[in-house]
Amino acid sequence: MSQIITLDQLKKTLAEKQAQGVDIIAPVLRGELAFFQHVDDLEKAALTPRVRFQNSIKEFFFPRHETIFSFVRQGSDVQLTDAPEFERQQIVVGARPCDAASLPILDPLFAWDYQDRFFQQRRANTTVVSFACKETDGHCFCTAVGGAPDGTAGADAILFELGDGSFEVRCLTDKGKALFAGKTSESDKTGAACEPPKIDFEIKPIADWIRNNFSSPVWEEVSLRCVGCGACAFVCPTCHCFDIVDEGSYSKGKRVKNWDSCQTALFTLHASGHNPRGTQGKRQRQRMMHKFVIYPDKFDFNLCTGCGACSRSCGVMFGVRPCLEALAQAASSSEN
């Protein structure tokens, strides 16, 4: 027996939570483009699985711009006011499995000795409901990094669209169970995700190649077309590099964390003018190393869920999958 919920009942369930003060984050269409955003009116939520989103759910755990504290100068003293703790509850609904999968990947980073309450409080206060995929495109490669169209990592519940205006609900955690308790009905229908994307490369040999070919000319060659705009990092659910800057004036202002990208030259520029990563090739190497060598070394996860958002939004048709494919070629030709 499975548990099912109709689309109407799903919206009602979310609306009830909203009435209790819970923030609802769901896909909303603007023209043909889908965005994850806070929704006031659940009728505006586009609750169906889709491949392409303009943003990832990352920003609801790790906002693109976030105040750390504010300050006021009083004579020679400075008064600091801590940013408020995150006490709201939120539900993210309609996440792709590859989006939800980023959350357990990021957990250890924000808890590595120093506890980042900004991420952790949002994570603790959020219930994630993902939708199993109904289709994949040529950018998807979740299967290469251990994911699947019905992957459950990071989700509290996963919903399978049944095509008759209802979803099969599979609760995965206590949070998921709490959300759907008493809201579903029993059925003998079960949902299924689409076929997994077909991938003709494996991560392991590429990661080995990356580890052993730090100085290879391949890095500059594959990066020739990259313009270093950093869009790949901003749409990526796992990219988490950030900058810390002050805003306001000398007498009154705040310090903020902003998303940053290792693809820009300023990222590692020393005050002396020296830059350890002065070329696009070196910066691309850092990006791929971080995802497939450094992060696995440190936290046992690839820093990538194979969602394909980077190449989908890349202006020059680059991104992680095209880069992996190019490196796979380099790896196989260096074997021969």
């Binding site: 750390i68 504290f69 300050f71 100068r73 020679s76 003293d77 400075v78 600091l80 801590d82 940013a83 703790e85 980073l109 924000f110 590595w112 000795d113 120093y114 506890q115 980042d116 309450r117 952790q120 409080q121 730090f214 100085s215 988490h240 590099c241 950030f242 900058d243 810390i244 800057v245 002050d246 306001g248 004036s249 000398y250 007498s251 009154k252 202002g253 310090r255 964390k257 940053d260 290792c262 990222f267 590692t268 520029l269 020393h270 005050a271 002396s272 020296h274 350890p276 990563r277 070196k282 850092q286 190393m289 971080h290 060598v293 450094i294 070394d297 440190k298």
Partner: protein, 277 residues
């Protein structure tokens, strides 16, 4: 929950100008209890803020026996330009201490060689101060310090004081001879040349080398020829940092996060790291 990115307000106690663009600043926690309880290890660094301008990374450049923190900075960018203007009584921010430290305990009983160039004096000064405060624990101390010109030497007065301590040799040098008539009791040579003449022997000796890449590159073979092993040659890296906490993803060399696993590395560690400096 604690906010790991929020600095503590610090009172500027003293500012001593060192060169045309270097100042040494002494600070204390505004909160007396914090000041009394603050502990750090020699070689650690902190993040210092000018509120409204930003944060910069500097070594804590004094020994840890004091009830204050000192740092020494070169005016070079946005934050340091503004830091240049701070006066005693002003408030700046501090986060730290961060990173690993020099193994001062493991160095006990050994001869210490300190090699520094230019503004790289601060990361070495803390170790020298500590070693001199615990003079009986260490063997011979050799300090080789050079800068471009006499005017670029940091901690000039202290160099002469250190030279007075028992069994300490201070060799100072400048790249460019001072103008005729300028008092100068040091040499005119590059740091590696002076190091070579210092007659270091590898026996029971560790070295700490910090400075511009070219100085480090040319000094290493001299220490190796003298018999020091890669494990006995230490340095302190200065990758650009933002968080200091292993989160912002900026400071790594391969899988090594300099802010957490560094900034202190031996030459043996460095040889294992990719060339991402």
């Amino acid at each position: 929950m604690e906010n790991i990115y929020k600095p503590d307000p610090m009172e500027v106690v003293e500012v001593r100008q060192q060169t045309a663009d270097v100042k040494l600043v002494r600070i204390k926690f505004r909160d007396p209890e914090k000041n009394a309880n603050f502990k750090f290890n020699i070689g650690q660094f902190g993040l210092y803020s000018v509120f409204g301008v930003g944060e910069s990374t500097f070594n804590i450049c004094c020994s840890n026996s004091k009830d204050y923190i000192e740092f020494c900075f070169r005016k070079t960018g946005r934050v340091t330009e503004r830091l240049w203007d701070v006066e005693p009584g002003d408030t700046i921010g501090f986060r730290g201490p961060f990173g690993n430290s020099y193994p001062m305990d493991a160095w006990e009983g050994k001869n210490l060689v300190f090699v520094a160039g230019g503004i790289a004096m601060p990361p070495i000064r803390c170790a020298i101060q500590y070693a001199l405060e615990n003079r009986e624990k260490y063997g011979k101390i050799t300090i080789v310090y050079g800068a471009r010109t006499v005017g670029d030497l940091v901690c000039k007065d202290e160099l002469d004081e250190w030279a007075q301590a028992p069994n300490v040799v201070v060799l100072k040098t400048v790249d460019v001879a001072p103008p005729e008539g300028t008092p100068w009791n040091g040499r005119v040579d590059f740091v590696p040349t002076v190091l070579k003449d210092a007659g270091i022997t590898g026996e029971n000796t560790v070295a700490l080398v910090v400075g511009p890449p070219i100085m480090i590159k040319l000094s290493l073979p001299i220490l190796v020829d003298a018999g020091l092993k890669d494990e006995d040659i230490f340095t302190s890296l200065e990758n650009r940092m933002k968080c200091g906490l292993g989160k912002c993803g900026r400071c790594n060399c391969g899988s090594v996060y300099v802010c957490k696993e560094g900034p202190v590395f031996t030459q043996a560690d460095i040889k294992k790291m990719p060339d991402d400096f």
